[in-house]
């Protein structure tokens, strides 16, 4: 009987968690210093280049190549990571831990690039092109942000939209077909709004009218549209290939701004969908947190009974938001088509789920989602392209990265994320 004493305790305050995160960050930093940095003497230099590959009109001002001493750069970056971890440990950060882990991930990605580009001498051709990486990542990031914004619009009103993947697929298919038929991306976008909105309406209808489990309905919608898309592909797109001509949208460069090295090609030499995405981020942020509309939406997502008790229609609010969210994801699908080209049934390859993960990591806020999407976008881009840089890291491992972070975040390992209180819970008046 005396064997059962204090050390059998499991009920403990969660102080250890912060420490675990802090130590994890420190270990990553030490690995950067000693595992990657120290001992790169045989290949002492890393060279980065900034010259963009394709520009729509006129190149930005030229930046010379940057040659760094590999060992010292890695030691410095590693020390930075160790400092981040130490800060978490010393200041016992709980809320700020998530931001530190995000920063760690960014610094670590830079360190991987530096390490991957190490070469024996400064004279050799550099092969890490920073601008190209950023431009490529920006495209993926844009798609993810459309998805995250869709998720935020739905979940802030209390409906989980796990069907973003399906709405991407729907938008992609419809957008590609309309553009192929009319050669007009504006019409294609309208088509994306309509199909995404319809899919949102279907989710809302089942979730609100029939109080179905939103996760299950969402998965069903994705599965159904995956099947439908395959069917369309076999029976429409294959016999009529001119409905899937794979044209991509031309970039609309912003004169002047596009001349800025690195930033110009990344942000100001993009398709219209990129600029639309930036406008939407600002708009959703403003609407959710500054307006009467946003206050009511958030009230519905947090405490629908309270909202109803002051005369706000919970059902209508949820319908509107889920349809809006679907439309945004639909446009995201069209944007995907506009940069990727030909439709194939597996083209969206899980981007809808990564977007959802980014929404969680970004704490259901547009600004947070943008940060998380950027992190996930860069790592996804590297995952697809690192092999061409002959880096001995397998693609699959890097592709797991967003999901690993999401698991850590939603399990409460990093900071504290709190979804809207009524998220995913069907609402019914007594």
């Amino acid at each position: 009987m005396t064997a059962v004493t204090a050390d059998a305790a499991t009920v403990r305050p969660p102080l250890g968690r912060t420490q675990a995160i802090g130590w994890f960050v420190v270990v990553v930093g030490l690995f950067t210093v000693f595992g990657m940095g120290v001992g790169t003497g045989s290949a002492p230099h890393s060279t980065l280049t900034f010259t963009p590959i394709d520009v729509s009109q006129g190149a930005p001002w030229h930046l010379g190549n940057l040659t760094l001493p590999t060992e010292w750069t890695l030691v410095l970056l590693g020390a930075l990571i160790v400092a981040l971890g130490a800060e978490v440990l010393v200041r016992r950060l709980v809320k700020g831990a998530m931001v530190r882990v995000g920063l760690m991930a960014i610094v670590f990605l830079v360190a991987v690039l530096v390490w991957a580009s190490r070469q024996p001498g400064p004279s050799q051709v550099p092969f890490i092109n920073v601008t190209a990486i950023l431009v490529g990542s920006a495209a993926i990031t844009m798609i993810l942000i459309y998805g995250s914004l869709s998720g935020i619009l739905c979940e802030r009103a209390g409906v989980v939209n796990i069907a973003i993947e399906g709405q991407f697929l729907g938008g992609y298919l419809v957008g590609e077909m309309i553009d192929s038929a009319t050669n007009n991306w504006l019409l294609a976008t309208v088509g994306g709004v309509v199909i995404g909105g319809l899919m949102g309406w279907l989710l809302a209808f089942l979730a609100i009218r029939y109080l179905s489990d939103q996760i299950i309905v969402g998965v069903v919608i994705v599965t159904m549209f995956t099947g439908l898309a395959s069917y369309f592909n076999s029976w429409v797109l294959t016999p009529y290939p001119n409905l899937n001509n794979g044209n991509i949208a031309t970039n609309l460069a912003i004169p002047g701004l596009m001349k800025i090295p690195i930033i110009g090609p990344t942000f100001f030499d993009e398709t219209g969908y990129f600029y639309l995405m930036m406008i939407l981020v600002g708009l959703v942020s403003f609407a959710l947190f500054k307006t009467r509309w946003g206050l009511r939406v958030r009230a519905v997502g947090e405490h629908p009974q309270a909202a109803a008790s002051v005369g706000i229609s919970v059902e209508r609010t949820r319908y509107v938001n889920v349809i809006l969210g679907g439309a945004v994801a639909g446009v995201g699908g069209v944007a995907f088509a506009a940069i990727q080209g030909q439709f194939t049934p597996s083209i969206t390859s899980g981007f809808g789920y990564i977007a959802l993960a980014a929404m969680i990591f970004g704490r259901w806020r547009p600004s947070g989602a943008v940060a998380a999407c950027t992190l996930f976008g860069v790592s996804a881009y590297l995952a697809y392209n690192l092999q061409s840089y002959q880096v001995p890291i397998s693609t699959e491992i890097l592709l797991m990265f967003p999901y690993l972070i999401t698991i850590a975040v939603s399990a409460g390992l990093v900071g504290r994320v709190r979804p809207p209180a009524a998220d995913g819970i069907p609402y019914s008046r007594e």
Partner: protein
């Protein structure tokens, strides 16, 4: 505002929740609606607040018939409601909660926070309800959250306030403060409709008391009516308001707590060296304002919370930090504080809830297979002997009233072989009839020679039931006194100061 209800009738299927209810609330009046749980009070309030539509009857405001299709209509007509479960968004600020649904805006639909704050301050000033408009609601204590609910109603310019069981969640001090607020609101001309089943506070604050039972108005009486008259009107028969019990004949100690230290979720010592002894054949009642460690003490005794140091002995056996199952099997009965969360599974049947902590024990199961007939027979005999009102033992527990749910727990705990019983807030939320019943059962357990520990924040209950009264303040026992001690002295112990002549 003068409110009149004429012949309000509301049916749910075959059940008539409100049967031709007539009621008049005069301007500046505090009108109490008194009735047992399930008498139809909440239904009537929901009709009045537009959340439900009456099948028959009409609502008149200042003599004019009105139609209230939703709560927005009710609010526009000057009716404000303070719900029992607050209608506040915990993560919003006070200002955001107060303006929700009636937001002042600037251009582009932007919220006008400056005006919202100013509106709240002016309501605060007018009625003496101080609260910081920028505080997040979840960071406020319950009493202040309720104040926010009241400000919210007043901010929408309510002339009639409905308060639904407002004191159920409050400490005695907060309840007193609320009574003061109600009086000053009435003095400024607001009408108040106050729903309660607590006789004492009703007599204390009301101008008129209307009693309803089984959906009908039984009558209206002035607050000078005695508590037993009110109780009889509520229940429909004479009820005993004093606990009938003989002098205790305590024997050997059965439940012993020694130097117990327990930490709360934040790691602070909420139980800080408590020693307590409950002997066979006596009731020890633990008094104290809620949040002084009583909850954690009970959780530690019943194995639901880790004991940092010290020990708990049941009939001489050390049960410190054993699993709840071991502790229950050792003979500790537990009636938990939050019965719906910790005591029952609402979606399961009455029969399954009756064996919730003995499902594997013969005859309810053999070799891992449940014997459903034995479970049913057991439940039927308990329903019979404990007078549980249910349509069948197969009905889900959620279909029972709060009092009958509590009877299921009492029946389950008392039908097992027991050494000691720990009961937290055993009558919270129960009506007079059920309270009488639960008290009688607790005394019966004592008289059978078990040790009983009662934790209650109702001082009346503590003084009526306890053979000895222990008072807890900030994690320590500040005194163990005889129940004949004056309420004032016990009250002093509850605030940590020792009255003269008491160690």
């Amino acid at each position: 505002m003068r409110l009149e209800l004429r012949g309000i009738t509301k049916k749910f299927g075959s059940l008539t929740a409100n049967d031709h209810i007539d009621l008049v609330v005069e301007p500046g009046q505090i009108h109490c609606l008194l009735g047992e749980n399930g008498a139809g009070k909440s239904t009537l309030m929901n009709v009045l607040f537009g959340l439900l539509q009456a099948d028959e009857g009409e609502i008149l405001i200042d003599g004019e018939p009105v139609r209230l299709a939703n709560s927005g209509d009710a609010v526009r007509r000057g009716i404000g409601m303070v719900h029992q479960h607050f209608m506040l968004v915990p993560v919003f600020t006070v200002a955001e909660n107060v303006v929700l649904g009636f937001e002042p805006t600037r251009s582009l639909d932007r919220l006008d926070y400056a005006r919202a704050r100013e509106d709240i301050r002016s309501v605060s000033r007018e009625f003496g309800l101080e609260v910081d408009p920028d505080a997040t609601v979840e960071s406020l204590p319950i009493g202040l959250q309720q104040r926010v609910e009241i400000i919210k109603a007043l901010g929408h310019d309510a002339q009639l306030l409905i308060l639904d069981e407002p004191t159920a969640v409050l400490t005695p001090q907060e309840a007193d403060a609320l009574m003061g607020i109600m009086r000053s609101l009435a003095a400024s001309g607001k009408s108040i409709l106050f729903i309660s089943h607590k006789l004492k506070e009703v007599r204390h604050v009301s101008d008129v008391i209307t009693v309803i039972r089984a959906g009908r108005v039984i009558g209206s009486v002035p607050p000078s009516a005695t508590e037993s008259e009110l109780a009889a009107m509520m229940v429909g028969r004479e009820v005993s308001l004093v606990v009938d019990k003989t002098t205790a004949a305590p024997r050997e100690p059965l439940l012993e707590v020694r130097d117990l230290v327990v930490r709360d979720d934040r790691g602070l010592p909420v139980v800080d060296g408590v020693s307590l002894e409950v002997r066979a054949g006596e009731i020890v009642a633990l008094a104290g304002v809620q949040g002084n460690g009583q909850t954690e003490l009970v959780e530690a005794i019943t194995g639901l919370r880790h004991v940092e140091s010290g020990s708990v002995l049941l009939a001489g056996r050390d049960i410190t930090n054993r699993s709840p199952r071991d502790i229950l099997d050792a003979g500790l009965g537990h009636i938990p504080e939050d019965r719906q969360r910790d005591g029952v599974v609402l979606s399961m049947s009455v029969a399954d809830n009756m064996v919730l902590n003995t499902p594997r024990r013969p005859p309810f199961a053999r070799r891992g297979t449940r014997n459903l007939r034995a479970v049913r027979d057991h439940a039927e005999s308990l329903v019979e002997s404990f007078d549980v009102r249910t349509s069948s033992v197969d009905a889900p527990l959620s279909s029972l009233s709060g009092g009958n749910q509590q009877k299921v727990i009492v029946a389950r705990e008392l039908s097992r072989p027991l050494q000691a019983l720990v009961a937290s807030q055993p009558t919270r939320g129960l009506d007079v009839g059920s309270i009488e019943y639960v008290h009688r059962e607790i005394v019966r357990v004592r008289d059978e020679g078990h040790a009983v520990l009662i934790v209650s924040s109702e001082l009346d209950e503590v003084m009526a039931l306890g053979d000895r009264v222990a008072v807890m303040f900030q994690g320590r026992i500040t005194g163990v006194v005889d129940p004949s001690t004056s309420r004032e002295d016990v009250g002093l112990l509850m605030t940590g100061s020792a009255p003269a002549g008491i160690a």
